[in-house]
């Protein structure tokens, strides 16, 4: 048996050696050549990315940004559903050309991949049953739901160390757990929670029973993720989103998904897309 395990370790090491190389070519040229932009997006997280049940098309804030980028390039878009946990590996392995999936910029991630300028700014809050949580104290020693591999998970562990953090594959499963009383709160970015609350408000069975108390534990700047060192591609995406800010497209997309008449109204406040380095240093 020892020999067998030894052999296995040897095999692993060999495969590992082959793994050494990862790709960082010129995505801009590749996408133009192939005529297809492969975008990693969320598929069940309105208002950022979800499949419309009637048309079966992808829709959302992230999707509209991807569409604009593709239009400017004159290429088609192929959407690949990603989760918070698998989006970075998928990008680094070259399965997707960019990540537009509610991804917070932070220094650890910025070591692995490159980010665009901030295209959305929000803060991490909690969604709970009405009246259940008034301050961070109410969360101590409780179970809190979030998604695997997200910054939300790491932030909440820091903010409420005594809480038990349960990580699901994605946020809606956490919301379901709140609804069923299995966790006291689900925590992530306000923008995502607002979308979830909007869904709960639309349903007569859950209307008026949930809220997002005004407790923020972090700033969350979203960036579009691209492979490290893919300079031309990063510049192109950055130029494009700055252009979107200038011609009013970015504000229009915001109003479409988060304006007062949307399902998840939040304020854009003073946020505009600028050549910022937020979250990456």
């Amino acid at each position: 048996m020892a020999r067998r395990i030894g052999l296995f370790v040897l095999a692993l090491a060999m495969v590992g050696a082959m793994c050494g190389a990862a790709l960082a070519g010129d995505t801009l040229a590749d996408v133009k050549k192939s005529g297809v932009l492969v975008a990693g997006v969320k598929d069940s997280l309105p208002p950022f990315g979800s499949v419309d049940p009637n048309t079966k098309e992808f829709v959302g804030y992230d999707i509209d940004f991807v569409k604009y980028i593709a239009k400017k390039l004159g290429v088609k878009v192929e959407y690949k559903p990603v989760s918070s946990a698998n989006r970075m590996p998928m990008l680094m392995e070259g399965r997707i050309d960019l990540i537009a999936a509610t991804m917070t910029k932070n220094p650890e991630r910025a070591k692995q991949i490159d980010f665009s300028y901030t295209y959305f700014l929000t803060g991490q809050k909690f969604l709970t049953k009405k009246g259940a949580v008034k301050s961070l104290k109410d969360l101590e020693g409780q179970k809190i739901g979030t998604a695997k591999g997200s910054t939300s998970e790491q932030n909440v562990k820091k903010a409420v160390p005594s809480a038990t953090v349960l990580s699901f594959d994605d946020y809606p499963q956490g919301v379901l757990a709140v609804q069923q009383g299995k966790v006291i709160a689900v925590t992530t970015d306000e923008s995502i929670l607002a979308g979830q609350l909007g869904k709960l408000e639309k349903n007569p069975a859950t209307k008026g029973k949930f809220e997002i108390p005004d407790i923020a534990i972090s700033d969350e700047p979203y960036g579009i993720g691209m492979r490290k060192g893919d300079t031309n591609w990063v510049k192109f995406v950055n130029d494009t989103i700055l252009e979107m800010e200038k011609n009013g497209e970015a504000a229009k997309i915001f109003t479409k998904w988060f304006g007062p008449d949307s399902d998840s109204p939040i304020a854009r406040g003073s946020f505009t897309i600028t050549a910022d380095k937020r979250g990456t240093e």
Partner: protein
């Protein structure tokens, strides 16, 4: 209590459950589940045959090699094999692999290890005298295996293969974890969107899986009885 369930969420999304975004996007749902299972099973048959033949080979190195591969794979959860493939394949083969094909490779690798045992048992189950008789008529060892032993062994293995197909269909549900839109992933998507009907959604897909798997389990039993009957006469 079943009276409190509202299955309209199922009827509203019926086509999504069965074919996913097709024809506007790739095939998904039940269609993709069956596709993954059929392709992986066909490939596992080949993989199982190769590993199985290696394990009854007279060459010690081949025997040792196959048994190492088989034991290692059988010692791991399928989920682990899937993660490994997701991690290693792109590094080794570049970015050409889709998620569906990565899952197919993982399922194939995993199931081949189990298939090889079926193949081995099938070959060992044919009386030794047959090989000896074949060799005494002038066939080589390899010829005896391919023309005499294997055809009989394979026929006896058919019910086990069908059974393996049932496991395969159940195993495809793990593709959910890496975002392949087969039936389980579709169900979670709809559940995430609608929020209020997890009970209805999961009962529904459990029944779908059951109908498919049970049909094949019965087929396997029927084949087994027929085979037993043919042997008896």
């Amino acid at each position: 209590m079943i009276g409190g369930l509202d299955f309209s969420v199922v009827s509203d999304n019926l086509s999504y459950f069965f074919i996913g975004r097709y024809p506007k996007g790739p095939l998904g749902g039940v269609g993709l589940t069956l596709y993954l299972a059929v392709v992986s099973l066909a490939l596992s048959f080949i993989g199982g045959l190769v590993l199985g033949l290696m394990s009854v080979s007279r060459n010690r190195l081949l025997r040792f090699g196959s048994s190492t591969v088989i034991q290692t794979i059988r010692g791991m959860p399928l989920l682990m094999v899937i993660f490994w493939m997701f991690f290693l394949l792109p590094a080794m083969l570049g970015s050409g692999m889709t998620a569906s094909w990565t899952i197919i490779v993982a399922l194939t690798l995993f199931t081949s290890a189990y298939m090889s045992e079926i193949v081995r048992a099938g070959i060992v189950g044919i009386p030794k005298g047959q090989t000896e008789a074949a060799i005494s008529t002038g066939l080589s060892h390899g010829q005896a295996m391919f023309y005499i032993i294997l055809p009989q062994a394979l026929r006896n293995m058919i019910p086990s293969f069908v059974n393996q197909f049932v496991s395969m269909i159940k195993d495809t549900s793990l593709a959910f974890i890496v975002g392949v839109t087969e039936l389980t992933q579709i169900a979670t998507q709809i559940n995430n969107r609608t929020m209020l009907y997890p009970t209805e959604i999961f009962i529904f897909i459990a029944v779908i899986y059951f109908v498919i798997c049970f049909a094949f389990t019965e087929l396997s039993r029927w084949l087994e009885r027929r085979l037993a009957y043919r042997k008896a006469i």
